[in-house]
């Protein structure tokens, strides 16, 4: 997953009861609302997972919403995001082992699938705690750290997260 530092512009809605205090409290209210919105949105297809707000760059002129008395402020801020990239090399830990592949997790991503076909010489070994074994007795079991390559990924709009397809095909890939 690559990290981006992105500058974005969002609108923050401040309710009237937060407005009548002094300027400093208003700024705090804006930051708090921004962080809340940032956390709620979780991720976007363009930028990836929203990790943290780093700075508030500017706050524009507020516009009063006629009926409710709320004020809308356009806010420009910088933040860190993390997004998968096709062809990149990542590390993750084994979460679940199934016959047709392994589920991994890495950083904010909990939905990484490593198909059995990409696992070169590893074979599925069934049992109460299934594992994948290869001829050199290298084992892939729960919590093993694995280095893999990203074959492709998918943005799930409804869940607001990414789903990754991984491969171990290639040198220097596999359990660490």
């Amino acid at each position: 997953m690559v990290f981006f530092e992105v500058e974005m512009q969002w609108n923050v809605l401040i309710s009237p009861n937060e407005l009548d205090a002094k300027g400093l409290l208003l700024q705090k209210a804006i930051i708090v609302h921004l962080m809340e919105e940032f956390a709620n949105r979780k991720a976007s297809k363009e930028h990836g997972y929203y990790v943290a707000v780093t700075s508030l760059n500017s706050v524009g002129e507020g516009k009063v919403r006629g009926l409710t008395g709320d004020v809308l402020f356009p806010v420009t801020f910088s933040c860190i995001t993390q997004k998968p990239a096709k062809g990149e090399i990542l590390q993750g830990s084994v979460e679940k082992i199934l016959k047709h592949g392994i589920f991994l997790k890495s950083g904010p991503m909990e939905s990484i699938f490593l198909p059995e076909k990409t696992m070169k010489d590893y074979r599925y070994v069934a049992g109460e705690n299934p594992v994948f074994l290869n001829d050199k007795h290298s084992k892939l079991e729960k919590d093993t750290i694995v280095r893999f390559k990203v074959l492709g990924f998918k943005w799930l709009e409804y869940d607001r997260q990414f789903q990754l397809l991984a491969t171990l095909a290639g040198d220097f890939l596999g359990p660490i």
Binding site: V51, Q91, L151
Partner: protein, 239 residues
């Protein structure tokens, strides 16, 4: 969700030549491929029936434009995993891409898959170590900030912080960045520089194995890469 019909709209002789035509897909997918068990693939000569039993969908971003791409599969054994599937579908940011209609036999186990990185606008690429430093600073402020119950941190924050700590390699990110920047004049792009910094490879062979796109300029960049790895070794923290 509905499965897409694999037969395509014209009645190409699917049985004999094992041509597969995949219909247009959702724009959300970026080269995500369907995995089917080999057993079902042997069932019949028809391409479409091969894909009935699996649970995942087949979608290719490249077909967003509505055109069909045909793939040839090797006739042997009906093993879909090694079939010709075109992976060159992805483009970050969901922009329309031209289908690679003539790509033949790229495999699921594609070793030579190159890094595809598109920078969103107003974004700067950070190496893991650089992000780690920033996040660590925020973590330190977090305890103070969290005294206010209204302050909310994203779900990913903690997970990502752990992720960066796990990979922590260098004493500080500026020295690593300085060393890696020297590769730019040798034609290494930002994405590749970032990968090298993140992976922290030990040998030049490892670099070429993991980042096959660099092989194209091997004669030009091998020396500099070797030097850079040596310099990075010096600024690595002992963990």
């Amino acid at each position: 969700m509905g499965r897409k019909s694999l037969k395509g709209k014209d009645s190409a002789p699917v049985n004999k030549t094992r041509h597969i035509q995949v219909d247009s897909s959702d724009s959300e997918y970026e080269g995500f491929v369907d995995e089917r068990s080999p057993a079902s693939a042997k069932a019949s000569g028809k391409a479409s029936s091969d894909l009935k039993s699996g649970k995942k969908k087949v979608s290719f971003e490249s077909l967003k434009t509505g055109r069909k791409t045909s793939f040839e599969t090797p006739a042997a054994k009906g093993d879909w995993g090694k079939g010709g599937k075109d992976f060159n579908a992805g483009k970050a940011g969901g922009k329309g891409s031209l289908p690679q209609a003539t790509a033949v036999k790229p495999r699921l186990t594609e070793i030579e898959l190159k890094l595809e990185l598109e920078l969103p606008k107003n974004a700067r690429l950070l190496m893991d170590c650089e992000a780690a430093e920033i996040l660590q600073e925020i973590e330190e402020h977090k305890t103070i900030l969290s005294e206010d119950p209204k302050v909310k941190f994203p779900e990913s924050f903690n997970k990502v912080l752990q992720y960066t700590k796990f990979g922590g390699h260098y004493i500080n990110s500026q020295s690593a960045r300085k060393v890696l920047e020297t590769l730019k004049i040798n034609g290494v792009n930002d994405g590749e520089i970032c990968m090298i910094g993140n992976i922290c490879p030990e040998t030049v062979e490892e670099v070429y194995a993991l980042l096959p796109s660099l092989k194209a300029n091997k004669h030009k960049n091998e020396g500099p890469i070797r030097e850079v790895l040596a310099s990075l070794a010096k600024v690595k923290s002992s963990k």
